[in-house]
Amino acid sequence: MRRQLEGSRAVAETVARCRPEVIAAYPISPQTHIVEALSQLTKTGELEPCEFINVESEFAAMSVAIGASATGARAYTATASQGLLFMVEALYNASGLGLPIVMTVANRAIGAPINIWNDHSDSMSQRDSGWIQLYAETNQEAADLHVQAFRLAEELSLPVMVCMDGFILTHAVEEVELPTREQVDAYLPPFVPRQVLDPDEPMTIGAMVGPEAFTEVKYLMHAKQMRALEAIPRIASEFEHEFGRSSGGLLRTYRTEDADTVVLALGSVLGTIEDVVDELREQGERIGVVGLKCFRPYPLDEVRAALGHARRVVVIEKAFAVGVGGIVGQNVRLALSGLPAAVYGVIAGLGGRPITKASLHRVLREGIDDRLGHLTFLDLDLDRVPAGAT
């Protein structure tokens, strides 16, 4: 049923319909509204049967989820920013043990300086943690991706991170078609764990592995995550079939046919970019958009196919690797290696700085005119910086 509601609420109610059995949460902006809503749904009994556990840290939140998942329970948690970093040790453990935990990351910047506003520094810092990473463009997609995430995670025995822009999506009130419990039940089968702690069939989970087998273990982890490249589109199309709308997948193209300039981005900024692209089209520019929905595993072939014909690609991303430049940009270059297309990296929206149509028009114009370097900071205002600081 279609409703006008806050993104966090939409996600919470959707997660609730996925029948999570154990939810562990520690509050951090801008994730709070999600866990508040889930706590309420558990307390009122709408979420029966479910254990909602207020833990003492994100490290504990992920650890509780690990214990629960290893015992065969569908486990969920949500976090952001510093919280995600505080979890890091446990993140690698969850993926290493192959536990299908689903976690929402309400994307937020990482300090210092401390900053509660949105960018992708947090989830991007965990791109190699062994978790699958999905990025939502709208609250509708954020809700839908959680339903798909549980399917995906449990099918592959891998943890999945659903990333949605903090505040911009989590706190935005807009219309969302909430999946009904019936629909979800039909689409998402009960959790059948691949390994479970059970006195009836005891096993040892989490052994120490030495040089003789460690490489093989890691190889298998990689192979398993790569299997997601096949699973994600399939699960997305089954979702479309079941729910009547398209959400997720590996990537989405917009007006890229015949485009010689393609803008590539992830998350909520895509809408604004599409508005700008429409206006540029009206001005006669052959320009399109590729929205990346899945960043891990990295759909290299799909990206290459989607960008292959472009003469230039402008990658707009909300995080960067200090000392190198764009993170998504590097991956795009990898996908395009051997092809003539120029790749322009634009770092935008750091720490919540608004990405406006005006700024996008400016930077894309420069792109179209091939006046962009390989690394640009959008709306960089050096006048603010004391002389000599640079």
Binding site: Q4, I168, A172, V173, E174, E175, T272, G352, T356
Partner: protein, 177 residues
């Protein structure tokens, strides 16, 4: 696309106002998007929230820089904040005040008085939305009432609807005059 910016102070419910506005528009069959000026402002500090209303799905996520309308919950803000910044020519302004203002763009409503009268507490949101509905006719009063009823428990809801109705009437009259 119609864009509204709401000015208030932390704790006065600017975010709720934006949400109610978006819900009302949604109930009218339009697409709407409400969002706060994400920040860490505390109670009493000047804050703003935004609401976009359109016939088509809304993809744009930038803050509202050129509003078609302003709702100002607290007249004292006028002295400290440039509330009119970016207001489009001929844009609407609903100001919570018992005194008329010289500015021709501005319609004043004694929202706080009405709130005290109807719900016994100085929460001007409902009244201001009622006035806004009357002023620009973008959203129907019924939807505003429905949005309020969806958001608040029955008694509180009816009291707010009362305040909204009164404000709506206050703004309607001169139009008939």
């Amino acid at each position: 696309m119609f864009q509204v910016r709401i000015h208030g102070r932390g704790g006065q419910g600017v975010v709720t106002a934006a949400e109610l506005l978006s819900v009302a528009a949604f109930l009218d069959g339009r697409h709407a998007q409400a969002f706060p000026s994400f920040g860490s402002e505390r109670t009493g500090a000047p804050v703003v929230a935004f609401c976009r209303i359109d016939e088509r799905p809304i993809r744009l996520r930038e803050p509202i820089l050129a509003p078609d309308a302003l709702i100002v919950q607290d007249p004292t803000l006028l002295h400290h904040v440039d509330v009119f910044a970016g207001l489009v020519p001929g844009g609407y302004v609903v100001l919570n005040s018992s005194r008329a203002v010289a500015d021709p763009r501005v319609v004043t409503v004694p929202a706080t008085d009405l709130a005290r009268e109807h719900l016994g507490r100085p929460l001007p949101n409902a009244a201001l939305l009622g006035a806004f509905a009357a002023l620009c006719g973008l959203i129907t009063f019924d939807s505003v009432a429905a949005a309020i009823r969806e958001r608040f428990p029955a008694r509180l809801a009816e009291a707010n609807v009362g305040a909204a109705t009164a404000a709506f009437a206050l703004v309607e009259e001169p139009a008939h005059a």
